[in-house]
């Protein structure tokens, strides 16, 4: 049975619809991210799951029981969930130990039991030695660990995270991503994670919900999202990509500067605009004409940038107007203006809406 089910949920603020027709099912123990640019409705969705806001339409169920509907919601304190906030919301008037023990205290556990559990979880997040400290004496990363410990120690039915890493510096953010995933693997808590950072979502999640303007664009596992984006928005938001517009011409599809056989590209027989996403990594770049099975397209380098881990080239097909972006290994060096060959695998071109 699904752990958490959102059915056609929407949320209006006056005339503005923050979330539109949102449906999602989470399996028990699953880690799902809500990913999208700011203002896409992901935090609103999370707050509806937490019970801070009622949905305008639609329902939310947990373990088969309705917990949110426009007619009424179970208040947050009776949902047995827990949440990690963007600001951490560590209470500055309580020590680390008191912060972490709070939820257990609310659940009326004995002092000894609370102490035992707090110590256990502080060991897990490597904060045991700081139990007696006040939050103002902690670094951002340590506060983040307290927030994690406080949320996990109560063994919530569902764990909600609202951009928990956005206030950390880059190195710490990367470390904490893996920490969050590790804790999930250890405790298997059903988790909803809100973020605008695609790599955060990809590292942590079993599935990612990409949202835009209050609507779901696509729900899939990270590698599927990257490899098979369904919409122009998803292809552009997850990683970098080239958008290629094609036109059917007999047995071929004509693109800007090259032609591909209709049989080789996805959906060439369909109706509507033929728009394809082609990742820069999927394009080969060589000085001589490639011998491989892909399409060989003669091109000229118009611009380049060196980013250490890779070269970022702009190569304009001869006879085309728009350059195609290509990523290559740091060792393959081409000067601006030089003639090159592009190798394009038609199967790597994903049709998007």
């Amino acid at each position: 049975m699904s752990k958490l089910v959102l059915k056609n949920v929407s949320r209006r603020y006056g005339a503005f619809e923050a979330v539109t027709d949102f449906s999602l099912e989470l399996q028990k123990g699953e880690f799902v991210s809500l990913l999208g640019p700011s203002g896409c409705g992901k935090t609103t969705t999370l707050r509806m799951i937490a019970g801070f806001a009622p949905p305008s339409t639609g329902t939310i169920e947990m373990d088969g029981q309705q917990i949110s509907a426009p007619s009424g919601v179970v208040p947050p304190e009776r949902r047995r969930m827990s949440m990690i906030f963007q600001s951490y919301a560590i209470w500055p008037n309580m020590t680390v130990g008191e912060n972490v023990g709070f939820g257990l205290q609310v659940r009326k556990m004995s002092r000894a039991e609370i102490d035992r559990r707090v110590d256990t979880i502080l060991d897990v997040v490597q904060m045991r030695n700081l139990k007696g400290r006040y939050p103002s004496e902690l670094s951002g990363g340590q506060q983040q660990r307290v927030a994690l410990a406080r949320a996990i120690v109560v063994e919530p039915e569902v764990l909600l995270l609202d951009e928990p890493l956005s206030n950390l510096d880059a190195n710490l953010r990367e470390e904490m991503r893996f920490e969050i995933r590790r804790l999930h693997d250890e405790f298997k808590i059903t988790t909803v994670y809100v973020t605008h950072d695609q790599s955060e979502a990809m590292v942590t999640s079993d599935r990612i919900v990409v949202m835009n303007k209050g609507r779901i664009e696509q729900i899939d596992a990270p590698h599927v999202l990257y490899g098979r984006p369904r919409s122009r928005f998803v292809a552009g938001f997850i990683g970098r990509t080239n958008f290629l517009e094609g036109a059917r011409n007999g047995n071929d599809v004509r693109f800007d500067g090259f032609t591909a056989p209709a049989g080789a590209v996805e959906g060439a027989n369909g109706t509507g605009q033929l728009l394809y996403s082609l990742r820069p990594q999927a394009v080969g770049l060589t000085a001589q004409k490639p011998a491989g099975p892909g399409l060989a397209v003669e091109a000229e380098i118009t611009d380049r940038a060196y980013l250490g881990e890779y070269w970022d080239y702009q190569a304009r097909p001869l006879g085309g107007a728009k350059p195609i972006r290509v990523s290559t290994a740091p060792a393959s060096v081409f000067e601006v203006g030089s003639h090159v060959w592009l190798e394009i695998d038609p199967a790597a071109m994903v049709r998007v809406e």
Binding site: F102, E155, E157, F187
Partner: protein, 575 residues
Amino acid sequence: MTASSGAASRGPILRAGRWDATWLLWIAIIAILLVLVVSPFVYLVLTSFQAEKTGDFTLSNYATAYGRARYIDALFNSLQLGAWAALLAGVFAIPLAWGVARTDMPGRGLTRMLVLATFITPPYTGAVAWILLAGPNAGWLNRFYMFATGAEAGPFNIYSFAGLVVVIALYSFPYIFIFATAALELVSSEMEDAANILGAGTWRTMRRVTLPLALPAILGGLIICFLEAIALFASPAMIAIPARFNVVTTQLFQFFGNPVRVEVAAAYAMPLLGVTVLLILVQRLITSRKGFATLTGKGGERRPIRLGPWRWAMFGYAMFVASLSVFLPYIFLVQSSLAKAWGRGFSLDNLTLRNFNFVLFEHATAAQSVINSFLYAAAAATAAVLITLGIAYIVTRRLVPFAEVLGFLCVAPFVIPGVVLAIGFYAAYAPPPLSLYGTALILILAFTTRFLPIGYVNASAALRSLNPEMEEAVRVLGGSRVMALRRVVAPLLKRSLLGAWLLIFIPATRELSSAIFLYGPNTKVASVMIFDMSEEGNFEYLSALALILQLLTLPLLWIGQRALGRDFMLRRTAT
């Protein structure tokens, strides 16, 4: 550690429902606000249109209130008084504010302290001290003048329009000082440097850059000063009445004399209310005007301006103002409180502690009046802080629709002068069925209402600094809203709430203008007692009582400064 306890606590917890007990609390707070603010105001307006006995609609109250030339004169006297007092207060306050905030004048901390001492001196105490100083013939300044020049009579007469202006200006200039220093401290040195590099010297820079940038705040302070002056009751009553002219507040007091004509008083209070509302709007407009980028608080670095030898001139001026508002008044208040007869001056055989003894232990009601003042002030401060905290919480967390209206009601009493508020309370609660006139309750309610704005401004500032996620974290972990308030909000706001409490309590212990219309035989407060003594001419007892009141304030001030910093009373949030 997964699942085990989760399964144990599973039960019929998932019930849908929107109501919890805290809603009752919110409804109670809203009801209180209706009682404190809305009903006195409504009754004030209604009463002004009601015939005295029958309660029928009539315009005759207005006809009576504005039917005589001397009633109209009193209105114009008030306006003139306010304008002159505000101007003179500006002359006192602006140089001091600039000196303290922007220059290397010596004794800046001392000057701030002396302005604070002025600020906590009730206007009526200052007025009494100045009667001792500048009373015709017997006043100390006149006696020194005669002694020094051998003249027959001294030049000073406090019982005059000019005398009243000086006394009011001396005890209201701290308002301008507070506004002006707050603004001047935000003018960045870089803006002044920019003027300097283009060739402007210190004085030109001050005149062309610094002062204009602080001007909106200074104008705001002048307006507050003007309103303070026209709403003041005690100083005009002590000085203008012997000088044989009336202002609005003293005229209102006469309408309230035997027999009480509250309907006429209400009608006569309307211009005072109207002018206040209008000017507060103007003041808000001026101080909130955009384009004065320095007031955003991102002013960059600030260096004091070097005045060279002029720094001593600035210091001299500061000490001159302080001697008028603090040194001279307190010297002669102390002298008078320790004298058998104040006019006999500083001689050993004139020294006595009899006045303190009399006031504290022998006078029938004086000691009780001090106790009353502190009890009522404590009750009012506590009530105001709790109510405004509740309302600020509702408003900042948007718990009910139209919550902003509640916030507006909390700050609305700011535009109602104390005397007018008292008339509203009298009209609303003195008649049956409540018949609260002369009870402690009506005084406490009036004080609470009068200081709601201070409470609200502080409570909402404190709450805005508190991230709502702090409370959401409590709730998501299973705690109720009440638990969030008790375990997280209250502990975190302790300091600010103590500050707000003191900012209400201290002025409430000296409140006169609303008390004078509402006290009864058993509910006399210290300020009313002092006022009575001044009418009887008992300046020795009066000085003793006034000093006792001041001394009792000092520990509170100390607590406030320990908890909230040295300047807690002189910050702009105080008003």
